[in-house]
C-alpha cells in the first residue's frame, strides 16, 4: 500500500543487510580502525574540512554501518596531508587508514 511517503533507502541503517566482508578486510589490514571513539578531533582539525564536507570520523562510522558510498563522500576532499594523525587521541595512523579505505573501497566498486 502506498501512503504517499516512504523512508529513503539510504537514510535508515539496516545492520541486517550490511555485508561485513569489506569492513572485515579493512579491519584486518588496519586493526586500528576499531579503536576510533568518535571524538571528532580529526574532523575538527582537518585542513580540507573548512571548505568541503570532509570527516574521517563520519567516514569510519558510515563504514561501520555498511553505508560505503556515503563514507567515501566524507573522504573525497581529503588531501592526505596527515594533520589528523597528529590529533587523534587513540593514536590511529589516520593517513594510512584513509589510504587503505580508498584502496579497498574504491577497488571494489
Amino acid at each position: 500500500m502506498d501512503f504517499g511517503y516512504s523512508l529513503s533507502p539510504s537514510s535508515r541503517i539496516d545492520l541486517d543487510l550490511f555485508d561485513r566482508n569489506r569492513f572485515n578486510t579493512l579491519a584486518e589490514i588496519e586493526p586500528d580502525v576499531l579503536k576510533c571513539m568518535a571524538c571528532g578531533s580529526c574532523t575538527a582539525t582537518c585542513t580540507a574540512g573548512k571548505y568541503a564536507k570532509n570527516s574521517l570520523r563520519s567516514a569510519i562510522l558510515y563504514l561501520q554501518n555498511g553505508q560505503d558510498k556515503q563514507a567515501l563522500e566524507y573522504l573525497k576532499p581529503c588531501m592526505l596531508c596527515g594533520k589528523c594523525f597528529m590529533v587523534c587521541p587513540r593514536g590511529i595512523n589516520t593517513r594510512h587508514l584513509i589510504l587503505s579505505i580508498l584502496k579497498i573501497y574504491n577497488n571494489a566498486k
Binding site: 541503517i13 545492520l15 579503536k35 561501520q64 554501518n65
Partner: protein
C-alpha cells in the same frame, strides 16, 4: 555499657564491616535475610575490570568474619530507640540491644519487566545482566541459543530514566556491559556484538583499557543511542530499533540475544526497616547520609550508620572502603559517648 553493634545485611559490605568491627573488639551481631551470605556478589561470575572470579573475592570476606555472631534467614521484626540504645527484635526470637546499628542492606536490581518496551519476560531472547552472570556460572539458560550470531547489550535499563522512576546513573552497568560483551565474544567468536549506550561511563582505574580492548581485541561495536523498542520476529529473534545518534539516522538490527543492563535501586527490605524509625531517603530512593562529603557513613539519627549500596550505586571497591570507613565511624561514636 555493652559493645554490641547490629549489622543488617550480609552482603560484601556487611561482611567486611563485621570483620573490621570484630577485630576492633566490638560484639557484632550480623543478620542476613537469605539462606546464604554474600549478597549480590554471590550471584556474579567474574568481576570487572580484570575478570577476577567473584568467588575469589567472596571467600576471603566470608572467612574473615570468623568469630562474628551471624544469623541467616533472619529479618528485623521491629526496631525502636529505648533511651540511648536501639532495641531490635529479630525474626528468630532474639532481641538485641545495641548502641549502633549499621545498615548494609544493599540494593535491588531494577525489575527489567517494568520497561515493557524491551520485552523482558515476554520475548524468549531477552535476558538481564544478572541472568547472564548466572549463565556464565552455570552454562545454562534456555534463552541463550546454541550459536548466537548477533548479540545486543542495552545500557541504562531503569537508570537515567525518569519514566522508570530512576533519574540517576547506576554506575556499574557500563563496565558490566563491556565486560560481559567481551566474555560473550570469547564464548561465541562468530557472533557480532553491539552495545547501545548514551554515554560510556568508564570512570574507574583500568576501565578505559577494558573499553579499548573491547573495541580492538573483541571487535565490539558501540552504537550511541538508546534502544527505543524491541519486537519479536517469526523466528523468535528480536528486532531492535534505535537511533545511531552519531550519524543522526534510525537504525535497526535483528538479534539472537538481547541483554538488558538493569540498574540498581535501594533494596526494598532495607527501606522497610528505614521506615520503622523514619530514616530519611533522598529523591533517588537511597538513604540520605548526614553529609555528602565529610560524613557519608552517618545517618542524621545518632547511632544509625550506613555503608555500601544502600546509599547509592557503588562498585565493590567503593563498597568495601565504605565498610571500613563505617567501622571507624562507629568506633569514634562509641569513644565520644563514653
Amino acid at each position: 555499657m555493652n559493645k554490641n553493634v547490629m549489622v543488617i545485611g550480609g552482603g560484601p559490605c556487611g561482611l567486611e564491616a563485621s570483620a573490621q568491627l570484630h577485630k576492633m573488639g566490638y560484639n557484632v551481631i550480623l543478620i542476613e535475610k537469605e539462606k546464604q551470605l554474600g549478597g549480590h556478589l554471590a550471584k556474579w561470575d567474574r568481576l570487572f575490570p580484570e575478570g577476577i572470579e567473584a568467588k575469589e573475592v567472596l571467600q576471603p570476606l566470608v572467612d574473615n568474619i570468623n568469630g562474628v555472631k551471624y544469623f541467616l534467614d533472619t529479618e528485623v521484626v521491629s526496631i525502636n530507640l529505648l533511651d540511648k540504645e536501639y532495641n531490635v527484635i529479630l525474626s528468630n526470637g532474639i532481641t538485641v540491644l545495641s548502641k549502633a546499628v549499621l545498615m548494609t542492606s544493599g540494593f535491588d536490581l531494577f525489575p527489567a519487566e517494568k520497561k515493557e518496551e524491551y520485552g523482558y519476560g515476554i520475548y524468549d531472547r531477552v535476558i538481564t545482566n544478572a541472568d547472564l552472570e548466572k549463565f556464565f556460572a552455570t552454562g545454562k539458560d534456555p534463552r541463550v541459543v546454541e550459536n548466537p550470531k548477533r548479540i545486543g547489550f542495552v545500557h541504562c535499563v531503569g537508570s537515567r530514566d525518569e519514566k522508570a522512576g530512576n533519574r540517576y546513573c547506576s554506575k556499574v552497568c557500563c563496565a558490566t556491559a563491556v565486560k560481559q560483551a567481551c566474555e560473550m565474544k570469547a564464548l561465541f567468536p562468530d557472533a557480532e556484538i553491539f552495545c547501545f549506550y548514551m554515554d560510556l561511563r568508564m570512570f574507574g582505574r583500568g576501565y578505559e583499557d577494558m573499553y579499548l580492548k573491547a573495541q580492538k581485541d573483541y571487535g565490539i561495536r558501540f552504537i550511541r543511542g538508546r534502544v527505543s523498542e524491541v519486537s519479536e520476529t517469526l523466528e523468535k529473534q528480536v528486532l531492535v530499533k534505535a537511533e545511531d545518534t552519531l550519524s543522526g539516522k534510525p537504525l535497526k538490527v535483528t538479534l539472537d540475544l538481547l541483554v538488558l543492563m538493569a540498574g540498581m535501586q535501594n533494596a526494598k527490605s532495607g527501606i522497610r526497616i528505614g521506615e520503622m524509625i523514619s530514616m530519611k531517603r533522598s529523591d533517588d530512593g537511597f538513604f540520605t547520609t548526614k553529609g555528602s562529603i565529610l560524613s557519608l557513613q552517618e545517618c542524621d539519627k545518632a547511632g544509625i550508620f550506613y555503608a555500601g549500596a544502600c546509599t547509592g550505586p557503588k562498585t565493590l571497591p567503593d563498597t568495601l572502603n565504605e565498610a571500613r570507613a563505617a567501622a571507624v565511624s562507629i568506633h569514634n561514636y562509641f569513644n565520644k559517648e563514653n
